[in-house]
């Protein structure tokens, strides 16, 4: 917290932190992937995590919905709270946590099912809707919010894997939205897409910001600069610098940040 207090800009301090990570360390077997990471995620903003490959930014992201639990031999230490509640507390059901903290992956991964069934998957397993009409409603609004409805409304029964890469990724976002999460984690959501599809997704992320808190891992510093309000720079399993995006990119405090954003390493 000490470190955070030093670097956070006044603009961000105004916003309440929805997620707060304190001294988080992650180990894969004997290998330490994260070392004492502290980060506050402001609500209804876009926070981007940048850094060279293997710096731990994806690992940190996967701590926030306990996806690391599914990795054998992975151990998480420290404290992560969501709305003040410790998400690693024994009484927390990680299945319900993941419904609140949605995730979109690097490679679009629609299920080999119809477009409709892809979006309806979450509501069905969580029993969010009472009848077919309600489910239809949820599916359509989710597709609408993900900006995909216009393109697919005539072929909701077509298979989701038949869409283009960018459409598949928006389908995955729609699928995440259908569970009505508060927070959406995005792990390099545009890295498998062409520039036009990337622009669509970025536009969509900015629209979603109104209703959701978004945390995005990205390799593209331009992307981080374009869409996020807050940026954290990871290096060798630690957070080197975190702050207001504009400040971090124009006036970094740390030499390593300076080096990374100007392309001297990474």
């Amino acid at each position: 917290m000490q470190m955070l207090a030093d670097v956070t800009t006044p603009e961000i301090e105004d916003v309440e932190a929805i997620i707060s990570a304190k001294d988080v360390s992650v180990f894969y077997g004997d290998k330490q992937a994260l070392n004492n990471v502290n980060l506050d995620i402001p609500a209804n903003q876009i926070t981007s995590l940048i850094g060279p490959s293997g710096c731990g930014k994806s690992t940190f992201l996967r701590c926030l919905n306990r996806m690391n639990d599914t990795v054998f031999g992975c151990r998480v230490e420290g404290n992560i709270t969501l709305d003040g509640q410790d998400i690693y507390a024994p009484e927390v059901d990680e299945v319900l946590l993941r419904a609140r903290v949605g995730m979109v992956f690097q490679k679009p991964n629609p299920f080999p099912k119809s477009i409709y069934d892809n979006v309806a998957y979450g509501p069905r397993i969580h029993g969010l809707t009472r009848d077919k009409d309600e489910l239809d409603e949820v599916v359509l609004t989710s597709l609408e919010k993900a900006g995909l409805l216009k393109e697919v409304k005539d072929r909701l029964n077509a298979t989701g894997t038949g869409l283009s890469g960018g459409q598949q990724q928006r389908l995955c976002i729609a699928r995440a939205l259908a569970v009505q999460p508060d927070i959406i984690l995005m792990d390099e959501p545009c890295s498998a897409l062409d520039p036009i599809a990337t622009a669509r997704i970025e536009e969509l992320i900015e629209e979603l910001r109104e209703n959701y808190t978004i945390i995005i891992v990205t390799h593209s510093m331009q992307q981080a600069a374009r869409i996020s309000q807050k940026t954290a720079f990871f290096h060798m399993g630690e957070i080197v610098e975190v702050g207001d995006t504009e400040q971090l990119f124009t006036n970094p405090r740390d030499d390593r940040t300076q080096g990374y954003i100007t392309g001297r390493f990474g």
């Binding site: 919905n65 599914t70 299945v95 992956f105 080999p112 699928r175």
Partner: protein, 413 residues
């Protein structure tokens, strides 16, 4: 000269050709240093190929035309066989060696010749295995046609009674023979059905456990143990079925007031199912592993539990492949012989009751051909007809399975 010494002499000549060719080439490469593309031993191989291929071709021709040769009269044929043929063969070999040794020079495209020879050997190997299959089918086909000269098609395919004993003497009573194959195929289907009811759930569930739940270390230990089941000879399963499982079912049956014969379809089917478990589990294991991790992540990321992910994402995605695996297992079960010979018996009952004794196609084939038989009686020929029908059934199952599996493979590539 008989065949074996002829072959030995041939091999010796080619070994010499190899050695001499290598040496000669070595001597030549010394004098022309700039040619290093072909190594001496490849010249040796070149010579050996020329020494071996023409005589082998001759030997094969000889084998094919032996029957024609015997029509020339025994004395003449014997002379050709013992003197003319070996001499001609060895002369051809020597000629091949001589010509190829003469041709050795650094500019010779030796590697191309070796490549052609390798190509030829590979083609030959695959052709032989295909021809074997064709040969088996034809031998079945001819005997089957003979069988249907004696027994009408309608009796075989529609008859409900199977008792293949034919009369030894004309005045014998009640042994005219009945060749209705329906009880046999019904028995086969019953036992296969029981086997699949045991093997599919157990095999599939163990594959799901191994791929989705077990830790890597557990998997590394238990998977090979499961596969040991596949290495047990079927005859061992056979007496396990006959002496342990059959008796156990009979005792349990009598304890609860059911009449179970000790050679029941149930015992044979259950043990056959146990035999097939590793078959299904290791095939499904591979298929489930091939479902991309990203689909699992996607499902977990939406808050699905492990079993929801398995039921709603992984198994549907893997289903075509699993169906293919099950079909392969079915054809395995239909063709299985030893377990049913030992555990199910020979009584051709037409029944759907698994507690009674039934018999299968394979068991009857064994029964028909064991012991001294005349090879033109309807009884013996019936075995070929049964085998052909069985072959057609398992072949079509395999073809369907392969098509299904291939279709599934395209999906993730």
């Amino acid at each position: 000269m008989s065949f074996l010494p002829l072959v030995l002499v041939l091999l010796a000549m080619c070994t010499f050709g190899y050695w001499y060719g290598s040496r000669r080439a070595m001597a030549q490469t010394d004098s022309s240093v700039r040619r290093v593309a072909v190594r001496p031993h490849q010249f040796g191989l070149y010579v050996a190929i020329w020494g071996l291929v023409p005589p082998v071709f001759l030997i094969v021709l000889w084998g094919l035309f032996q029957e024609f040769g015997s029509s020339l009269g025994p004395a003449l044929f014997d002379q050709i066989r013992t003197i003319v043929f070996p001499v001609v063969t060895l002369l051809v070999a020597a000629g091949g060696l001589y010509v190829s040794i003469q041709k050795i020079n650094p500019a010779l495209k030796v590697r191309k010749t070796i490549e052609t020879a390798v190509y030829g050997v590979l083609i030959l190997a695959s052709t032989l295995s295909v021809l074997t299959t064709v040969g088996i089918v034809f031998s079945l086909l001819f005997e089957t046609i003979q069988f249907f000269d004696k027994v009408p098609l309608s009796e075989f395919f529609l008859g409900l009674e199977w008792s293949p004993q034919t009369a030894l003497r004309a005045d014998q009573v009640g042994s005219s023979g009945a060749f209705g194959a329906i009880p046999l195929f019904a028995g086969t289907m019953l036992i296969t059905l029981i086997a699949m009811m045991v093997a599919v759930p157990l095999g599939l569930f163990s594959a799901v456990y191994m791929t989705e739940y077990a830790t890597d270390r557990f998997r590394a230990i238990v998977k090979p143990i499961l596969e040991i089941l596949a290495g047990i000879p079927t005859v061992v399963y056979g007496f396990f079925a006959a002496l342990t499982v059959g008796v156990f079912f009979r005792d349990v049956g009598s304890a609860i007031g059911l009449d179970v014969v000790s050679e029941s379809a149930l015992a044979a089917g259950v043990v056959m199912g146990m035999m097939i478990i590793p078959f299904i589990s290791s095939l499904s294991d591979d298929i489930i592993m091939a479902v991309p991790q990203s689909l699992r992540d996607g499902s977990y990321g939406l808050g699905a539990t492990r079993s929801e992910t398995v039921m709603k994402v992984i198994l549907p995605a893997a289903l075509p492949g699993i169906v293919g695996a099950v079909l392969l297992a079915v054809s395995r079960a239909i063709g299985e012989t030893m377990i049913v010979v030992m555990a199910a018996g020979f009584a051709a009952n037409l029944t759907a009751n698994p507690l009674e004794a039934v018999t299968t196609v394979t068991v009857q084939i064994v029964g028909l051909l064991v012991g001294d038989q005349e090879f033109d009686s309807a009884k013996t020929l019936a075995a070929f007809a049964l085998a052909l029908v069985l072959f057609v059934i398992t072949l079509s199952l395999n073809v369907i399975a392969l098509i299904v599996v291939r279709k599934y493979r395209e999906k993730y590539d």
